[in-house]
């Protein structure tokens, strides 16, 4: 039961972080959108994104040093490259990821985000199912 509470507490922090960005800068905390726009040449679009990403990367490392989450076994690099490319391409095409659609979009009760969330969760579950089936 402990891990469920911890998961929920982490979720509450994610929600608060999203609200903070909305209330202060008026922006949606969709990580894929923030990352994809970090190289924007439109004035005022890049700097806050890099600051957000610096906080994300820096505090991610600090939190991992503090909480020691279990390390993952190294995976084959072709799989990681293919997965990363699909995630990058798919989130730009689909206008968001778990944070933008799943946390902020559902929070705004957006129909687009509900559909996107159901589709990526379904596709993720189907992928795991097929991968496990093939592995036997």
């Amino acid at each position: 039961m402990h891990s469920y509470w911890q998961a929920a507490a982490g979720g509450v922090l994610i929600g608060l972080a999203s609200w903070l960005l909305l209330a202060s800068l008026g922006r949606i905390a969709g990580i894929s959108g923030i990352a994809a726009g970090a190289f924007s040449r439109i004035p005022g679009e890049a700097a806050w994104r890099w600051a957000f990403l610096a906080g994300l990367v820096g505090a991610g490392a600090a939190a991992a040093a503090w909480l020691h989450p279990p390390a993952t076994v190294l995976r084959p690099w072709p799989l990681l490259l293919a997965a990363g490319a699909l995630v990058g391409f798919g989130t730009v095409l689909g206008s968001g990821c778990t944070s933008g659609h799943g946390v902020c979009g559902l929070g705004r009760r957006s129909m687009r985000s509900l559909v996107a969330t159901l589709v990526f969760m379904g596709a993720g579950a189907a992928t795991v199912l097929i991968a496990r089936y093939v592995q036997g």
Binding site: S3, Y4, Q6, A7, A9, G10, G11, L13, I14, L16, W19, L20, L22, S24, L25, G26, A29, G30, G33, G37, W48, R49, A51, F52, G55, L56, A59, G60, A63, A64, P69, T72, L74, R75, W77, A83, G84, A85, V87, G88, G90, T91, V92, G94, S95, G96, S99, G100, H101, C104, L106, G107, R112, T117, M121, G124, T127, V128, R132, Y133
Partner: protein
């Protein structure tokens, strides 16, 4: 300007602590959550791990309330001229196709963009390769589709 950047930094940092605390930065846990085969046949597929449902549950408890009270009519954000919310309406093929591709990648590696970036310094070669490929995928999609990623 400094305050604006500081607020963005704090938001990103809080987000990352939430991701690590909740288990989202552990690909094995994410894949365990997506492993619905475990609901039917745990002996064959391994157990289903429901804990990540609590992450979204916890986050939505906050955002469903927060996004209902912010933005409020006539009020500006603390450090910006306007609220910039997604304006697209309606479900189109691009949204569904993009979400499906993202879901496949998510299921393959167990990383979505936030957790992958939060793991960049501690996730070893896995996180580095994933983030590099993700950046390339984003650049390619922006070049082809020409649109910014907004929900």
């Amino acid at each position: 300007m400094i305050q604006k950047l500081l607020l963005a930094l704090v938001s990103g940092a809080l987000f990352a602590v939430g991701l690590v605390l909740s288990g989202m930065t552990q690909p094995a846990k994410v894949i365990g959550f997506l492993n619905v085969g475990g609901l039917v046949d745990p002996a064959r597929f391994g157990a289903w791990d429901p804990s990540l449902a609590f992450v979204m549950g916890g986050a939505l408890c906050v955002t469903l309330v927060a996004f209902a009270v912010t933005p409020r009519p006539g009020r500006k954000p603390w450090r910006a001229a306007t609220f910039q919310l997604p304006t697209r309406r309606g479900v189109d093929r691009r949204l569904v196709f993009g979400a499906a591709l993202f879901g496949i990648g998510w299921g393959l590696a167990g990383y979505c963009p936030g957790p992958a970036l939060a793991s960049l310094l501690t996730g070893g070669l896995d996180a580095l390769l994933f983030v590099a490929a993700m950046a390339a995928g984003m650049a390619l999609a922006r070049r082809l589709a020409g649109g910014a990623a907004r929900p």
